[in-house]
């Protein structure tokens, strides 16, 4: 298979179509995200006033009135929805999401960029680890289904798979932070350390603090990949071409990796692409349980606080992430699947 083989004239057409689709999906997704919070019957100003009232502050009714007017002005909520929409795209084209409404005047982009490394670090690594090991074990388990270890692996995967990842996170928390307190309960790294990603001491501390959340995500993810791959491989090994290869005396290793797993990989690659695209929205409950300052917690707070700028920011990353991941997967298909190369 040569470069020319894959990236032929058909591929050019395919590429253009897919890129166009991706751009449309992104624009529509962002527009919907812009409109939905503004259709809600409440807004951040009212929420702020309620918050001040229930937090025990005593504010004069006339002062609240003046406050409301000033806040609407400052948040840019005075214009029509269309005017706000035009302003939004004009700002976005300059890479500016505006200030966070609840953490004013801190820019929303700044807050998102601070949370992003945590989410990417946690979810990218755990997604990839669980995908690689899940598929490898699943492939072996499907191909060598009579071995004792594959049965145990399958049993373990079947036991872990139905447990929601957040329940698993709680179980690990109780076991290893409470019953045997081997891991810290609070924060993503030791208090008093500076967030220096190139500092090995800091990285060790992060590993210590994030080991359990990562483990909960890896084990639950691994179970799913393992079972999926095992089922795919079980079907493929009964195909004629596999049986022919076995009869022809092709090495077992070659059959497994070149004939069986390569064919079983296509849906798994799609799945990986989707899950990688989805990491931008974070793993809310895991982040909450373990105190990881990532995108999941951020998006939750943005939604309950009606922080339009943050909601938009997190959603944009998520929409773009998923769309681009799907695009990349689509573009990778021709490499794995000759049928796509032939349109």
């Amino acid at each position: 298979m040569t470069f020319k083989h894959v990236f032929n004239k058909n591929f050019g057409k395919y590429l253009l179509g897919r890129v166009g689709q991706t751009i449309m999906v992104i624009i529509i997704g962002i527009t919907i995200t812009f409109i939905i919070p503004r259709l809600a019957p409440t807004n951040p100003v009212e929420l702020k006033i309620q918050q001040m009232m229930v937090s025990g502050a005593n504010i004069h009714p006339e002062a609240i009135k003046a406050f409301r007017e000033a806040m609407n002005d400052i948040y840019g909520l005075k214009g029509t929805l269309f005017e706000q929409y035009v302003n939004f795209w004009s700002r976005l084209s300059r890479g500016d999401l505006g200030p966070s409404i609840f953490s004013f005047p801190r820019p929303a982009t700044d807050i998102i960029m601070k949370a992003m490394p945590w989410t990417i670090g946690l979810l990218l690594s755990t997604s990839v680890i669980s995908w690689i090991f899940g598929n490898l074990l699943g492939g072996l388990a499907g191909y060598q289904s009579n071995r004792r270890w594959t049965k145990w692996a399958e049993l373990a995967a079947n036991s872990i798979r139905p447990i929601p990842y957040y329940i698993f996170a709680f179980i690990l928390l109780i076991l290893f932070c409470f019953v045997w307190p081997l891991f810290p309960t609070m924060g993503a790294y030791d208090p008093g350390m500076d967030e220096e990603w190139m500092n090995p001491v800091f990285l060790l501390s992060v590993l210590h603090h994030t080991f359990l959340p990562a483990l909960s995500l890896v084990l639950t993810g691994l179970g799913a990949w393992l079972l999926g791959m095992r089922a795919l491989v079980s079907n493929i090994i009964s195909e004629d071409y596999v049986q022919y290869a076995e009869v022809a005396g092709v090495k077992k290793k070659t059959i497994l990796y070149q004939y069986v797993m390569r064919n079983a990989m296509l849906p798994q690659i799609t799945g990986l692409g989707m899950s990688l695209g989805g990491i931008f929205s974070g793993a809310l409950i895991t982040e909450y349980v373990y105190g990881i300052p990532g995108m999941g917690q951020l998006s939750y707070r943005a939604i309950v606080g009606f922080d339009y700028s943050l909601i938009m920011g997190v959603s944009i990353f998520s929409i773009v992430g998923v769309s681009v991941a799907v695009l990349i997967v689509d573009l990778l298909y021709p490499i794995f699947d000759p049928r796509v190369r032939l349109n």
């Binding site: 025990g56 005593n58 406050f67 609070m186 300052p293």
Partner: protein, 648 residues
């Protein structure tokens, strides 16, 4: 093989035990020993703007910092009222009142248009600049120029001018008579904190720059200064000032812990785990299930030193019917709703029986027993309502506490006192009877009919209620709302409990049947009702469809109430006897009219670990509110005893 396996397991356990060991020498952050540090919870949640210490903007209370030590330890204002009994201190007979930066109580002229404040001498900011009247004047002037600053709009409308005749005196000339203007500078939970003029003048080019100013690092006028904080907004470390005696805490003595660390963003389960591991000395609030679990430990204390655990907050949980919407505009219907509730079931469903009930429109906490609940018992026992079939029906039931006590005793055993007086002090002196017959009579009197097991309104429509309930963020109170809905449905009023995000907005607009929440919060330590009641005056009344700008979203209107509030407005705040007398008038009126259905205080299940520190306030020693995010919690640190000082 077997032996080595056992050895590995044993080593693993030994390692884990060693890890969990109590160690006053271990470092909380580099250079700060655990034995010198008290670790307390701030329930705000992680702060998304952790670098900002500007408490004067409205953003400070959201995902910005406010109660991470800044208002408790770093800032100060003129006066504080303790929500509980307070501590004895120099210059005041009333322990609940503290002249903090002020040297004396506020002094008004005869018509309450001028307030004069004398300030203490010898108080210093943490950069050794003296605090003076210029700081107070600057604070008010700066805020008045910022309509989105907290207290800004208030100062703009209320303050005509200010003068500082000398360094330690400030005179406020008010735009209109206002006997409660000092409230802006009187801490209950918070108040207007004083700015360091010399620092702000240097950092701000104009007053409006305040809104984007971070005030980082903050200057302190309190006994501690900020030592370090997490850039992700999850903890803040404060260190006792070497010159703490130059702050107002000196009236109470030296704060004992060298360091105070505020931990934010702790889910309920983690709070329990962290305290059990002795990593969290003071929990602000945990679920009833959490405190039941913690209270099994010898090292743990809570407000009641056992059942019912929680500190009754000066906040009144109530059922809030829309007085401007039929049929809730009818007093008889509101009374029927109250009498169709079995309060024992509500108490068990919400706080597992650990409640402090209140039939009055006032939280049953702090000094309220003395000023209101004891004096009102005679009135409540004699109170009669006309149910239509009984013109003198007496609805008050003093046996509720005993009933709840009997219900929870199988679970909590001897922790539930048998002494009726103590039990009533814990669980409340009484509530309304559960009397479906009287409730039915009242609905019939209101023109309703019962067909089958459902009630129908005068116009023939079925009487249904949509009850705005709490969300999952507060499972205890959500269960409370659900039980209320179940009881009304069982009584024949089909009730749907709705937990929706726009409940608050619809409540403000008057677009609701019944809301669950609170609209009454008291000072706790002082009987003055102006704190919550002034916006209930009919001059602030807003019709349904317009947002109400105060605490009267239930839209109750009464000439009698206006009359009481008018009297409050021209009475001297310092005349506690007069304040209490007016408060009693308010309580009698609202008990008869039942504009809302008061249930209980907001019981804050706070828990303390006595391993590293001891001496926390409790029911028998109620010198302060144990709730850690209140500014008044600063006093607790002066009363603690260090149990495990570092040895290295």
């Amino acid at each position: 093989m077997k032996r080595s396996l056992w050895l590995i397991v044993a080593a693993f356990f030994a390692a884990s035990v060693a890890y969990a060991d109590i160690d006053p020498n271990k470092e909380v952050i580099p250079g700060v020993k655990r034995g010198d540090t008290i670790i307390v919870e701030d329930p705000t949640g992680a702060i998304t703007n952790p670098d900002s210490f500007n408490i004067w903007t409205c953003w400070a209370g959201g995902n910005g910092g406010w109660s991470h030590g800044l208002q408790q330890l770093g800032l100060d204002t003129l006066w504080l009222i303790d929500p509980d009994s307070g501590l004895p201190h120099k210059g005041e007979k009333d322990n609940t009142w503290h002249n903090s930066l002020a040297a004396d109580r506020p002094a008004y002229n005869k018509d309450f248009t001028v307030m004069t404040v004398k300030l203490k001498k010898g108080l210093y900011w943490s950069d050794n600049v003296e605090f003076t009247a210029a700081d107070v004047k600057y604070t008010v002037e700066t805020l008045a120029q910022n309509p989105t600053a907290l207290f800004g709009p208030q100062f703009k409308t209320d303050v005509k001018s200010m003068t500082t005749p000398d360094k330690y005196t400030i005179v406020f000339n008010l735009s209109a008579p206002n006997s409660r203007f000092h409230r802006n500078f009187t801490v209950r939970w918070n108040a207007c904190w004083i700015m360091p003029k010399h620092r702000f003048e240097k950092d701000l080019k104009s007053a409006t720059d305040l809104m984007t100013y971070n005030f980082n690092p903050p200057l302190s006028l309190g006994p501690y200064t900020l030592k370090d904080y997490d850039k992700n907004g999850r903890w803040y470390m404060w260190e006792r000032r070497a010159d703490w005696a130059k702050t107002s805490i000196n009236d109470f003595g030296k704060p004992v812990p060298t360091y105070v660390m505020y931990q934010l963003d702790l889910p309920n389960d983690k709070k329990v785990i962290a305290q059990t591991n002795h990593d969290l000395d003071m929990i602000h609030e945990v679920t009833p299930e959490g405190i039941i679990s913690l209270a099994k430990n010898k090292w743990e204390t809570n407000w009641f030193q056992g059942f019912p655990f929680g500190h009754p907050d000066p906040t009144l949980i109530a059922i809030l019917p829309n007085n401007a919407r039929a049929p809730f505009d009818n007093k008889d219907v509101r009374w029927a709703l109250a009498l169709s509730l079995d309060i024992t079931k509500v108490a068990l469903a919400s706080y597992k029986g650990a409640v402090t009930l209140s039939p009055l429109h006032y939280p049953p906490t702090g000094t309220s027993k003395k000023y209101y609940f004891d004096p009102m018992q005679g009135f409540l026992k004699d109170l009669s309502i006309d149910t239509g079939t009984n013109k003198a029906y007496k609805p008050y039931d003093t046996t509720i506490a005993a009933k709840i006590g009997d219900m929870v005793r199988p679970q909590f055993g001897d922790a539930v006192p048998k002494d009726a007086t103590r039990l009533a002090a814990m669980l409340g002196q009484g509530w309304w009877k559960y009397d479906p017959k009287a409730a039915s009579d009242l609905l019939i009197k209101a023109g309703m009919t019962k067909k089958g097991d459902q009630w129908y309104k005068k116009n023939g429509e079925q009487f249904k209620i949509t009850l705005f309930n709490w969300g999952t963020g507060n499972p205890t109170l959500q269960r409370l709302g659900t039980m209320v809905a179940e009881l009304w449905t069982a009584f024949g009023i089909e009730t749907t409990a709705l937990s929706a995000q726009d409940n608050g907005t619809r409540y403000g607009l008057g677009d609701f049947d019944v809301n669950m929440g609170w609209n009454i919060e008291s000072w706790g330590g002082n009987p003055d009702i102006s704190f919550f009641a002034d916006s209930m005056h009919s001059r602030f009344y807003t019709p349904v469809g317009e947002v109400h700008n105060g605490r009267n979203q239930v839209r109750y209107k009464s000439a009698e109430l206006d009359n009481i509030l008018d009297k409050v407005n021209v009475s001297d705040f310092n005349d506690v006897g007069k304040s209490a007398a007016l408060g009693l008038e308010f309580l009698k009126l609202t008990a008869k009219d039942m504009p809302t259905i008061p249930l209980m205080s907001y019981n804050v299940m706070s828990s303390q670990d006595n391993t590293y520190w001891t001496g926390y306030p409790n029911f028998d020693k109620p010198y302060a509110n144990p709730v850690t995010n209140w500014a008044n919690s600063r006093y607790i640190f002066t009363q603690l005893k260090q149990m495990l000082p570092p040895t290295k």
